[in-house]
């Protein structure tokens, strides 16, 4: 049967199944084939912390959501237009997110009495009419896959069943007019040494495609036209990979060898994985015995003149705090990446949150200022890595990069820059004495600062004549000798603070088409997409909303206070309970409307539209007493 594709401008698909069903891989492949068609897209993987929770249970459900469109995509989408549910648990865990009228493809083979009872269904939802408001497409995914692979004598039934995710991918590829060339190439490389498994996966993929074409269950197929994007060569990239590549690029542009000291932790480990596979770019990765040793190794390498990097998540930052303080005192370049997750303590390891801002800002003993930057999207992770290295090397300071679980695992198309056009990161090691002692002899003062940046000289071991000792004990200004002098400590504390406060940071740009918006919405980090999407929607409803996003959180852009005071109301959405709002109120004495949630998931566009509407309404004198009192 031939169908003419219907045109859609955007689609949100969620693949959901058991942890072992290969949903992340299915989602990745669909994403890649979608990117190749020129759609803009955004993804949200969502998986349990357990490696393999008991099969068929709610805690074991893993999902991957993809939003693609013919225009620029800012979020992974609030709610799926299509849910693929590989078992009853996946249906139950995700149904609340699926709007009525949307399509649900279910694998009927898994709706056995046993599987239903595992998640508390007494009657199958496929039979009791409870799904009447949705377009349910029942497909015996497992048995059709096994049947399609009947000729593969060398495979067990279990092995055949495992190919059902490729069948589902084939079916969805047909539904949304995706090509499967990329997936075929991927399978050929993945199973190069297992020809029978390769053939079986390809057969399952084709079976899915043909099933869509031949069965009458799927009368409609869809097309989403390519998005209009700036010219260039694109690839899809996750935040963690973009960070890793950004640091390799920074190492290349600065001429400093990259040394990563790291201890595995979710959701940061992929940075360690990617960098450990890039030794070819002079990258050393040292997997340490603990978080403290990870940063110690990075700091030791920085003392020796390398680009020192450590990667972790919130609990790891807590352990590294003392060493970060040492780096503040030593005034050596160092980059600390915190891929934030739900806290406190172990919290929600695989879920996202922005709740380490105050830890990064203040989580050390003594007056210990550290610059902080935060990427706003997966692709921006690349640029933020270069920016962090610039700040660290120019100002000789540890720098925090605050990413989060959503950016780390989420992906989007990235216009690949030419390496030769990346910002230069010049590094000058000190090689000559910079002062004279009382007798007129040339000497080296390790704490004689640059008059503009207040950075101290970086003289690395191996440089003759500049032998010096540094440490975490307070040092005398200029000479770096141990000093307990009260006035000297006061001076050094203030110099370190002044240095960080004086770091050159670009002005905050405000997106305000009306020029006189009623509300400014200000965000930081991964809320960029949902905030921008919500802003777009409120404007289309006629509201005047200005939008700005902070990539620099310490120091703030110089014009931030001015921007905040220019608007009658400022809304700050955060995935914490108001950490940036606290800093803004303290620094600028302005009122902030803090909009927060800590559900382990990004904001939906809808909830931010709601918050912005409330803020806009609050400024309207005509709001009636009857409907203005509840919010």
């Amino acid at each position: 049967m031939t169908t003419t594709p219907a045109q859609l401008d955007k689609v949100v698909i969620r693949f959901a199944g058991d942890s072992g069903d290969g949903m992340q891989l299915t989602g990745d492949r669909f994403t890649s084939d979608t990117a190749a068609l020129g759609n803009d897209l955004s993804t949200l993987p969502n998986f349990p912390a357990e490696i393999r929770a008991p099969q068929g249970t709610l805690p074991g459900v893993s999902s991957f959501q993809l939003h693609f469109a013919d225009h620029d995509v800012l979020t992974p989408g609030d709610s799926p237009d299509v849910l693929v549910a590989m078992n009853p648990a996946a249906l139950k865990a995700n149904l609340a997110d699926v709007p009525r009228g949307a399509t649900i493809i279910v694998n009927t083979d898994e709706f056995s009495k046993r599987n239903l009872s595992k998640v508390g269904y007494t009657v199958s939802p496929l039979e009791d009419g409870s799904l009447e408001s949705w377009q349910v497409k029942p497909v015996a995914l497992t048995s059709i896959t096994v049947e399609a692979l009947a000729e593969f004598d060398g495979l067990t039934r279990k092995e055949k069943e495992r190919a059902k995710n490729m069948f589902a991918l084939g079916l969805l590829s047909w539904m949304f007019s995706r090509t499967t060339a990329g997936t075929e190439a991927f399978l050929k490389s993945k199973f190069a040494d297992q020809p029978e498994i390769l053939a079986a996966n390809l057969a399952a993929l084709y079976a899915g495609l043909h099933y869509g074409e031949t069965t009458e269950e799927f009368a409609v197929r869809y097309e989403v036209a390519p998005a209009a994007m700036p010219p260039g060569t694109y690839r899809n990239i996750t935040g963690n990979t973009a960070l890793a590549y950004g640091f390799i690029a920074a190492s290349h542009r600065s001429g400093l060898p990259l040394v990563l000291g790291s201890y595995p932790i979710t959701p940061a480990s992929d940075i360690l994985h990617v960098l450990s596979s890039q030794k070819r770019h002079n990258v050393m990765t040292l997997q340490a015995e603990d978080e403290i040793a990870g940063i110690g190794m990075a700091l030791g390498a920085a003392f020796g003149g390398a680009l020192g990097l450590t990667t972790t998540s919130g609990p790891g930052v807590a352990l590294k705090s003392e060493t970060i303080g040492l780096a503040v005192s030593l005034e050596l370049p160092l980059v600390i990446v915190d891929v934030q997750r739900g806290g406190p303590s172990t919290g929600l390891p695989t879920k996202t949150e922005q709740s380490d801002l105050l830890q990064a800002m203040f989580g050390r003993n003594g007056e210990s200022p550290v610059p902080i930057v935060a990427p706003q999207s997966p692709a921006d992770c690349f640029d933020i890595a270069l920016e962090a290295v610039r700040m660290a090397t120019v100002y000789r300071t540890p720098v925090f990069v605050l990413s989060d679980g959503y950016l780390a695992n989420g992906s989007e198309p990235w216009r690949i820059p030419a390496v030769s056009e990346l910002p230069d990161i010049p590094v000058d090691f000190t090689t000559e004495p910079n002062a004279q002692d009382d007798d007129g002899n040339a000497v080296f003062h390790p704490y004689l600062r640059d008059s503009e940046t207040l950075a101290r000289p970086w003289a690395v071991p191996g440089t003759p004549g500049l032998e010096h000792r540094i440490g975490g004990i307070e040092k005398a200004n200029l000479t770096g000798n141990i000093s307990y002098d009260p006035d000297n400590h006061d001076l050094m504390v203030r110099l370190r603070a002044e240095k960080v406060a004086g770091i050159e940071v670009p002005d905050l740009e405000v997106d305000d088409p009306s020029g006189s918006a009623d509300v400014l919405v200000l965000g930081w980090g991964s809320t960029y997409g949902p905030i921008a999407a919500a802003t777009r929607e409120t404007r289309s409803l006629g509201m005047r909303v200005a939008r700005a996003h902070l990539r620099h959180l310490n120091p703030f852009p110089a014009n931030l206070g001015e921007v905040l005071r220019a608007y009658p109301r400022v809304v700050v959405p955060e995935m914490n309970t108001g950490q940036l709002a606290l800093l803004l109120r303290a620094a600028y004495l302005v009122d902030i409307q803090s909009v927060t949630q800590v559900r382990g998931l990004p904001f939906t566009t809808a909830e931010l539209v709601q918050a912005l509407t409330t803020a806009v309404d609050a400024g309207r004198p005509s709001v009636s007493a009857t409907n203005g009192a509840t919010r």
Binding site: A249, M284, G305, V419, P461, G471
Partner: protein
């Protein structure tokens, strides 16, 4: 900068200093003064640290290295002030973490001779984890552990090497902790070089330091050091000329293990059950005498020697317990990077980085 050429593989272990630039052949001989910084030394009068500092300052010129290629990294504690007094590069870091900092430095800079100065509290309490991992990895660093069996800088609490029952401010009823034997611990972590020496024996200290510096890999040296303020006389039994003779067991590679002098000489023999025991020399004939072999790849015999001191100082072995050749962590890390670069056929450049960024799955928008 002159650099020592890569050593030629003659099947001999490479020196720990093989990649560290030495002084030119015609350079002026260095002296102790060259390694003495302008900082006033501030240990308590009579502290054993003075003797160790003097020995190190006196011994460093013998290595013939350029001063700028030597780095001392320390943690926190009395001993950790050490780097300030040496005119080399140095870092006085934070409590217990010096081995990890030294690991990052030594791995990224093969041209440096990296030393860690630490104490019994710094290395065995708060930094125990980093110590054992540096030793098992066999990072090319030299660790000097000053053991005075007490916390000095915090004014006299018991340490992880304090004898059971030690009365201190924090153990008024006596310490109930079972102490570590640092040498046993290092051997348990499979350290490739393990030695013990003493602050007051300058010649022995210097000889051990020389071997430690030349060892390629992690060299662990426990230095018995007297704290005259909080634990004075802790090692008196083996320092006193009269009592030390019977107690000190001077380990000499290739020689039988003995204690005592002349008529009261005892010889270490192996019992049928594998344990070792000292017997009077006269009774040793015909029994399997233990001959010290520091290069034995099996650490069992060295461990047995470390257990000769049961805490009473009846028999205290001194010298090099173990000195074996095994691959070092930092060499292996650098080898992997080098072979990845070599395998790529050309050095990393703009083009190779462009290729990395592009990956395999791209599309073009025109």
């Amino acid at each position: 900068m002159t650099s020592t050429p890569q050593s030629i593989d003659l099947g001999m272990p490479r020196s720990g200093l093989a990649d560290v630039p030495g002084l030119a052949a015609d350079a002026t001989k260095q002296t102790k003064k060259d390694f003495t910084s302008d900082q006033e030394v501030r240990w308590c009068p009579g502290c054993g640290d003075y003797a160790v500092l003097a020995a190190v300052q006196g011994f460093l010129p013998d290595l013939g290295l350029r001063r700028e290629n030597i780095v001392f990294v320390s943690g926190i504690g009395c001993s950790s002030r050490f780097p300030y007094y040496l005119d080399t590069y140095g870092m006085h870091s934070i409590h217990g973490r010096a081995p990890s900092i030294a690991t990052g430095l030594a791995t990224s800079r093969p041209d440096l001779s990296v030393w860690v100065v630490t104490g019994d509290g710094d290395a065995l309490s708060i930094g125990g984890n980093h110590l054992i991992h540096a030793l098992r990895r066999n990072v090319n660093i030299t660790i000097l552990l000053f053991n005075n069996k007490i916390y000095g800088l915090t004014k006299g609490q018991y340490s992880p090497t304090s004898d059971p029952g030690t009365i201190t401010k924090s153990s008024p009823a006596g310490s109930i902790d079972t102490p570590f034997n640092p040498v046993s611990l290092a051997l348990g972590a499979e350290a490739s070089f393990v030695a013990r020496t003493m602050d007051s024996d300058r010649a022995h200290l210097t000889e051990v330091l020389r071997q430690a510096a030349e060892h390629r890999g992690a060299a662990f040296v426990e230095i018995y050091q007297n704290c005259p303020i909080f634990n004075d006389g802790a090692f008196q039994l083996i320092k006193d000329r009269d009592s030390q003779a019977a107690r000190l067991v001077r380990l000499v590679d290739g020689e039988p293990v003995t204690a005592g002098l002349e008529d009261s000489r005892q010889v270490l023999v192996r019992e049928p059950n594998g344990s070792v025991v000292f017997v009077p020399e006269a009774e040793a004939s015909g029994r399997p005498v233990v001959v010290h072999d520091a290069a034995d790849p099996n650490p069992t015999a060295a461990f047995a020697l470390s257990r000769l001191d049961d805490g009473t100082m009846t028999h205290v072995p001194m010298g090099v317990f173990r000195n074996i050749d095994r691959p070092t962590y930092d060499d292996l890390v650098r080898d992997q990077v080098r072979s990845a670069v070599d395998g790529a056929g050309r050095p990393a450049d703009d083009a190779s980085l462009d290729a990395l960024l592009r990956g395999s799955d791209t599309w073009t928008v025109t």
